[in-house]
Symmetry: C2
Subunit: 258 residues, 2 copies
Amino acid sequence: MDRSAEFKRWKAQCQSKADFSRKGSVDEDVVDIVQLLNGREQYFTTSSCAGRIILLDGNINGFEVQKQNCCWLLVTHKPCVKDDVIVALKKANGDAVLKFEPLILHVQCRQLQDAQILHSVAIDSGFRNSGITVGKRGKIMLAIRSTHGLEVPLSHKGKLMVTEEYIDFLLKIANQKMEENKKRIERFYNCLQHALEKETITNSHPKGKIKDKNYSSCTHKKKRNPEAYGKCITEENDKELENDDDPGISVSFFPEDY
Amino acid sequence: MDRSAEFKRWKAQCQSKADFSRKGSVDEDVVDIVQLLNGREQYFTTSSCAGRIILLDGNINGFEVQKQNCCWLLVTHKPCVKDDVIVALKKANGDAVLKFEPLILHVQCRQLQDAQILHSVAIDSGFRNSGITVGKRGKIMLAIRSTHGLEVPLSHKGKLMVTEEYIDFLLKIANQKMEENKKRIERFYNCLQHALEKETITNSHPKGKIKDKNYSSCTHKKKRNPEAYGKCITEENDKELENDDDPGISVSFFPEDY
């Protein structure tokens, strides 16, 4: 079977399956992106989470969480208030941890070139921990990830280790990160549309050089966007990367912020 | 210039440069890996950080840190005690955040196949956020990253928001994560050695099927290793991924923990 036919088969197989996630459906904030990608013959999504605030209770044994014993006290894809967390924390008897997890999206791609286009869009939209996986059987997957997280231990053996005031402070930060994540998702959707349009035009006029002003300005906008809270962490790595030959994705952007 | 010659040129160019990182040298814990990779013609490292605990002070303006105003109060690649942080926090006048950042390593690879081998080793060793970047000019880069972080806001406008007892508790977790990170680095080094040996043998006996028991057991060991604190976060995504066709890297491992 040629690669294109094999990809079609994989896509059909994936799309015929039920959604086995706990929620059972695609998160609202990411539906447009998922539909846009799945509507293109060269892509299909295999998993997605738009971003969420979660509170976990880990059964601690020498600080090691046993995965099977980990309990979800709270999961929300919307901004969260202190009382929600305080109520959920009452059920904690291990080590509760509050996390903000940004968008994660796995997209299988027909060819490496398709993954490159999508990867470039992801990086330009602020999802700088994105990367391609090439499997042994030739499956090409792009994981779209952000650096933009939060992970805060709150209780130890059921005992709260912070004040309510701190939880309130923390949730302001978590909600702000969720807001920034949402902006990046919108940016990603817009850039993706432009990139796919551009590709369609290029493919139908393979010899013509068509300059896509929208896409250029889209990329440009991303570079200017101020970094969200805590983004300066990679400065030391950045400094090293600034002096490397970068791999050519968004040349003026990647070495600075990757 | 053919690809191989171009890669050689890139490598020579990169290695002739001074180390522009703040520290000015490769972190001790990652020296062996860096040397092993740079000693192979198909790889060279472009940046590395073995893992660190950092305390940042962000000048906050509506919860947005301006990168240029971000100040490093403390950076250590070794376990850290409460008093180090307490002393460093006295200098904070913005919003201080404590982070644990695991290993990050960027490796440029000659061919996609070389990146695939290294990616597989990284995933098997627990660095599940690793991914390949293919640049427009054909540069192939693998970023080796872990999911294994910590990011905890500690003060707001210079005012400490947590107790000393909490900082002590937090540092136990950060130090434990650093220890786990170190184990993964060792595992990565061992797996890498096996993978490179296996590749050398395969290349010198291209038609012989040589089963490398060491490498198999190395991969196997990784799967059994208990997940560190907080690793259960991706469970919901995992559930979705478990039902996907995985991209073939470490088939029994990737869909469960990616």
